[in-house]
Amino acid sequence: MSDIQVGTEIPALELPPISRCTLALYGGASGDHNPIHIDSDFAKAAGMPDVFAHGMLSMAYLGRMLTNWQPQAKLRKFGNRFAAITQLQDVITCSGKVVELIEENGEKLARCEIQAVNAEGTQTLLGEALVAL
């Protein structure tokens, strides 16, 4: 894995537009049955314009990007904050790059900055992953 250097870019992952069906499937599969993501009437009553995507759906997309790049068994830490809501029909692109090579508990790791961005360029998720070299 000597080909991983500071500046190495993680191959980006572009997702299809977020549909109501995407949210229904994710709600069922994830066990997050919060109606704010699947019931427009509920979302509007709660003061939102419509249903919106689960943050964890986009985090799962970031996870796909990471495990497409390196085997999951090498993933040590993975975190992000949810910086903006992902709306219906948003097209999310996940990307990231290696920003530092570090050593933790005697293991060499790549520290990666990762993000999810919508088509308008708004960062929806911003985070970091530690991947073993």
Partner: protein, 147 residues
């Protein structure tokens, strides 16, 4: 402001089954097409014992409580007013299909911002498998909109 006396409170632990069909459904829902997440032979060839759970699946186990998100009732939060602020995972071993994972969850911080317009609740969870091995830890921040 949410009741800060719950800082340090440990929610009742529970054990969740990691079902193979659930892993396949989750893979479908997130658009995962790598066969190691759905095909046991592919997983074994890649060096896994059987189907591994994807990196964010531990959060799915959090939802496997009799009452959805018991933290909400505990802190009297309205489900229509919560947002996910942040999420972190630390991994020690894979979570596999067939595992029985015991989830513990502790409230580690409660604070507000923007003059009380937003409340924040931070929880730390741990995930231990049927062999007693700690497989993962997570930290979650939930945001409650007050106005």
């Amino acid at each position: 402001m949410l009741d800060q006396s719950f800082i340090g409170y440990e929610l009742p632990s529970f054990t969740a089954d990691v079902e193979k069909g659930r892993l396949r459904f989750f893979a479908k829902a997130i658009g995962e097409t790598n066969p190691i997440y759905t095909d046991e032979d592919a997983a074994v060839k890649a060096g896994y014992r059987t189907l591994p759970a994807p990196p964010t699946f531990a959060m799915v186990l959090d939802m496997d409580t009799p009452e959805l998100m018991p933290l909400l009732g505990l802190l009297k939060m309205d489900i229509g007013r919560i947002l996910h602020g942040s999420q972190e995972f630390e991994y020690f071993q894979p979570i596999y299909a067939g595992d029985q994972i015991t989830v513990t969850s502790k409230v580690v911080d409660i604070f507000d911002k923007k003059g009380g317009a937003l409340d924040f609740v931070v929880t730390e969870n741990s995930y231990t498998n049927q062999d007693g091995d700690l497989v993962a830890k997570s930290t979650s921040t939930l945001v409650h909109r007050n106005g």
